[in-house]
């Protein structure tokens, strides 16, 4: 079955630095990839998504990179702010299926 993993459980960065959070997935047939942010006591909040026909997508201060060759996904946050402190999950989906498969999460800590 699908498995999704993250490289680091905790990432600590200085305010203003760029952050990179990584994710690996195992199913080469996966074609939809999402990053969610989860703050304490809240549900996952959509950040950005990308489909398998793309390798890069940019949003406001965030960029998602997809490398299908090595089945790797990353989230880049520019000029990280204290409000970015949260747990970040990657999630993977397949066309025709409703289920999202979530990774185990990376905690981002932003030091002032």
């Amino acid at each position: 079955g699908e498995s999704v993993g993250l490289h680091l459980p905790t990432l600590s960065v200085q305010e203003g630095d760029n952050s990179i959070i990584n994710c690996a997935y195992s199913n080469s047939a996966s074609d939809y990839f999402i990053w969610y942010k989860q703050e304490s006591g809240k549900g996952p909040q959509f950040i950005i998504d990308i489909r398998s026909n793309m390798d890069k997508r940019q949003g406001q201060r965030v960029t998602v990179l997809l490398n299908k060759t090595v089945k790797h996904l990353s989230l880049q946050i520019a000029a990280t702010q204290p409000g970015d402190s949260a747990v970040y999950f990657c999630a993977v989906g397949d066309t025709g299926r409703r289920a999202l498969t979530f990774g185990s999460g990376t905690r981002l800590q932003v030091q002032p």
């Binding site: 074609d31 959509f46 999630a91 989906g93 409703r98 289920a99 498969t101 999460g105």
Partner: protein
């Protein structure tokens, strides 16, 4: 901004009791989901629901679980006879259309504690 809401925020129950977790999806959304997150673990898919029927379910979603859309706004998850291992955060989500083209919006969750 429209959002998914869930009640209660915290439910404590005795093992063997039935619980119903409630969700109000975003009003123009057509697909509804339940996920759970055991403390310290990944968010896990339970079930998806469309057009008044289950469209997909995971191995976790056994005969003890059921979902219902009793009216035009609520979406419920029922656990008939709770077990200790059902203790988790339960998240409801909804999306406008097919997964590939529409993000799933998550509610704040219900923390279920089974004693």
């Amino acid at each position: 901004e429209p959002e998914v809401t869930q009640t209660p925020s915290h439910q404590v129950t005795q093992m063997g009791q039935e619980v119903i977790l409630r969700c109000v999806p975003i009003s123009n959304h057509l697909y509804f989901y339940w996920y759970r997150q055991i403390l310290g673990q990944k968010v896990e898919f339970l079930v998806s629901f469309y057009n008044n029927e289950i469209s997909e379910k995971s191995e976790i979603f056994d005969d003890q679980f059921s979902v219902e859309r009793p009216d035009g706004s609520n979406f419920t998850l029922k656990i008939r006879s709770t077990k200790l291992e059902d203790s988790a955060m339960y998240f409801c989500a909804s999306s406008v259309g097919d997964l590939s083209y529409n993000e799933q919006f998550f509610g704040p969750g219900t923390r279920l504690t089974v004693l």
